[in-house]
């Protein structure tokens, strides 16, 4: 219940931390992680993976968030693995090489076996050899990035991680490239992606929190350390509380993604997203404010971590859309309660 990682989760998280800490020596972080088979945590066992679930990911992704590592751990490792594991036999065959998950929405159209339209802001697509595309009808498609009619516009996100917009012009789908349907897969992957970015942001925000606490204890103004000013103490306490609550929600979201309780999963994931677009955004603003000028310089590591939190906020559905989804869930649940209890009260 205290959400501390179990010994196995801790061991894996430590392995990641070690690789991040030794970045680039002797191999790149990405190569090193691949070497240690840490990129296949969530992959099905028959593809050389470990079949890890969302709860197993939290510690690892938090480690990545805290380290600021730009590697596409979510888009090009965790998510394609989760997708393939969940789809099981319904998954298409995927070739060797880098694979990235792309979640299609209504901007992509399938007609006569051809895809036209676009999928925007796909994290990790910059390194992919193969796109694992999840269609809104819950089927997975495996497509080489050099498929005819497919073009990628590659760029960096705010936080330095790579992404791409995918443009499809009559891209033909070959027989073997399309898997069978896995009911609920698309919605599940959307929530799992939101959860994964939130776990990453959790690491970043906890690092920001520690950094801010330390800064308050050392920086002096007006002849006193900053931490002796009550208004700053209280602001730091608010950051502490909000991040503790966020931690609770991220673990809840991960646990619900591993469960079959769809309503609870949506409730938890939308709550997490609501926190990212609300209290967490306020927390990073407050942490910058508590630092003063140094907090807005590019050189100081806070800014890059803050942008990582903002990316988690912006991707995988806006805070507004998750607020609306959560409100709908509440309305439905409250009406359902009415049907069970029949206790309608006359209020007006």
């Amino acid at each position: 219940m205290d959400f501390a990682p179990n010994s196995e989760q801790q061991m894996i998280a430590d392995s990641f931390a070690k690789v991040f800490a030794a970045a680039g020596e002797p191999r790149s972080v990405w190569e090193e992680l691949g070497e240690l088979e840490l990129l296949r945590l969530t992959w099905p066992e028959d593809l050389g993976g470990f079949g890890a679930g969302c709860s197993d990911l939290v510690a690892v992704l938090s480690e990545a968030g805290a380290s600021g590592a730009p590697e596409p751990l979510i888009g090009a490792a965790a998510l394609p693995g989760l997708a393939l594991t969940r789809a099981g036999a319904a998954a298409p065959t995927v070739p060797d090489g880098e694979i990235c998950l792309a979640l299609a929405d209504t901007n992509l159209h399938l007609a006569d076996g051809r895809l036209t339209g676009s999928v925007n802001v796909v994290p990790g697509a910059d390194v992919a050899d193969t796109l694992l595309l999840c269609l809104p009808d819950d089927r997975l498609v495996a497509l080489p990035v050099d498929a005819k009619g497919l073009s990628l516009e590659v760029y960096e996100l705010l936080d330095g991680r790579g992404a791409a917009d995918l443009h499809f012009q009559q891209v033909e789908l070959s027989q073997g490239s399309v898997g069978g349907p896995t009911p609920g897969l698309h919605a599940w992957l959307c929530d799992a992606a939101a959860m994964a970015f939130a776990a990453d942001a959790l690491g970043a925000i906890c690092a920001i929190r520690d950094m801010t606490q330390e800064y308050l204890k050392t920086r002096k103004q007006f002849g006193k350390t900053l931490c002796s000013f009550q208004a700053l103490q209280h602001a730091m306490v608010d950051i502490y509380h909000d991040t503790e609550h966020f931690l609770s929600l991220v673990h809840l979201a991960a646990k619900t993604c591993d469960s079959d309780d769809v309503a609870m999963r949506m409730r938890a994931v939308s709550s997490v997203k609501r926190y990212l677009g609300g209290r967490m955004r306020d927390c990073i603003a407050s942490a910058i404010q508590l630092h003063g000028g140094i907090g807005v310089t590019e050189e100081y590591p806070l800014g890059a971590l803050a942008k990582r939190v903002i990316v988690a906020d912006l991707l995988n559905g806006s805070s507004a859309s998750h607020g609306a989804r959560l409100a709908r869930l509440i309305a439905e649940e409250t009406r359902a309660e009415l049907n069970i209890t029949g206790q309608e009260k006359d209020v007006a």
Binding site: M236, H245, T256, R267, S271, A320, A324, L338, D346, A348
Partner: protein, 392 residues
């Protein structure tokens, strides 16, 4: 939160539900679901029903008549009872002086008082705050002077919740005015409110209710065997007790029940023919409150997991109290908004347990102002967290 329940927890929950189905009087749950407040008598009735079942002291160890439940079971029981519309058990005996006596009391004190808390023969109130000692509790002035086997107590207590119903009061008094630190000269005494020299005077609050009182102590004789712990070491007992009080104020189970009342209110209230719960703007507020509540609920479980039965609550109590009291205020604020102009008429009968969905929110808004003040103001809580938890 059932996601976190073990099989045993689910079996326990089913047992609790079955008990509530059969033993919670309809009149008591009707009161709650009709947006009224439980009366003193209703609370005592429910207390006795639970005592009869052996479930009234959820977090006391079995040897003292408690249930010996795990923290998770305590939470399950509390939230199930609240959601069913049961009265909230008052914390002063069960959650405050009871655990203090178990920890610091003499055997005679335990034998004498603990059973009478369970049976509701005694009802306790808390004599801590004074007119000049609110957030700064350690500056209290009520004096106790030793005279043979008695203390003679003089002073004034205030914000004494439900003292009008109580027959006993646990009190902090100054026994050594010369002590170096103000906390060092304080002792905890148990005072029989029927003693000569005790006067209880009501304080009306802005919600129109009579929750709190002033208690005047004039040459009140208190036998020395009613001292809890050591003389001049009462601050230790008080800190232990305040930690428990703060968790009690956080009250996650009650918030859960009030969230569900708020949602019903919003479901049944129509604005221009549309149910308020379907209004996007109100919905967004409700969603944020839900997210905050969900976070609080899980954080509470994280915290409870670290508490041993009868043990200290530790630094987490401040965190729970801070956010918990804010959540309760926001629930009431949204309920007030839901009622709109219908919240403006003053319903005097609310003070007597009346009222309805229209004045539920505004009354609660006014009542809940005190939640961020009493039991440690939010400002003092933040000072404590800054110092003790964050080392600032």
């Amino acid at each position: 939160m059932e996601l976190f329940y073990t099989k045993a927890d689910i079996a326990f929950r089913d047992e609790v539900r079955a008990f509530l189905d059969t033993h919670l009087p309809q009149e008591l749950s009707d009161t709650f679901f009709n947006f009224k407040r439980h009366s003193w008598e209703q609370m005592i009735r429910w207390h006795k029903i639970l005592a009869n079942k052996g479930w009234v002291a959820a977090h006391w160890p079995v040897e003292h008549g408690g249930t010996g439940w795990t923290p998770m079971q305590q939470y399950i029981f509390d939230s199930e009872a609240m959601m069913a519309g049961a009265p909230r058990l008052r914390p002063f005996g069960l959650k405050m002086i009871g655990p203090v006596l178990m920890r610091f009391g003499t055997d005679a004190q335990k034998e004498r008082f603990l059973p009478r808390i369970l049976s509701a023969e005694d009802y306790w109130c808390q004599g801590f705050s004074e007119p000049g000692a609110g957030s700064d509790l350690a500056s209290l002035k009520t004096r106790a002077v030793r005279d043979g086997d008695d203390y003679i107590v003089n002073g004034q207590k205030t914000w004494t919740t439900t003292a009008q119903h109580a027959n006993w009061m646990f009190t902090l008094v100054r026994t050594d005015p010369q002590a170096e630190k103000p906390q060092a000269g304080i002792s905890m005494l148990l005072i029989d409110l029927s003693s000569p020299g005790v006067t209880v005077r009501p304080i009306r609050t802005i919600d129109g209710d009579h929750h709190v009182n002033e208690v005047f102590l004039e040459d009140v004789r208190v036998p020395t065997n009613l001292l809890v712990g050591e003389e001049n070491r009462g601050w230790t007992c008080a800190k232990f007790l305040l930690g428990n009080e703060r968790v009690s104020i956080a009250n996650v189970g009650q918030s859960k029940a009030e969230m569900s009342l708020l949602k019903r209110l919003a479901r049944d209230r129509k604005i221009d023919g549309v149910a308020l719960i379907d209004d996007p703007v109100f919905g967004a507020k409700l969603a944020d409150l839900e997210a905050d509540f969900l976070a609080q609920e899980v954080t509470n479980l994280r915290m409870l997991a670290g508490i041993k039965p009868g043990g200290e609550v530790g630094p987490l109590s401040s965190l729970l109290k801070l956010r918990g009291s804010e959540i309760q205020q926001r629930i009431q604020e949204l309920a007030m908004e839901a009622a709109g102009a219908d919240a403006a008429p003053w319903r005097a009968d609310r003070a007597a347990g009346g009222g309805n969905g229209d004045d539920y929110g505004i009354h609660g808004w006014l009542t809940s102002r005190a939640f961020t003040i009493f039991g440690g103001s939010s400002e003092v809580m933040k000072n404590i967290v800054a110092k003790q938890t964050l080392g600032l």
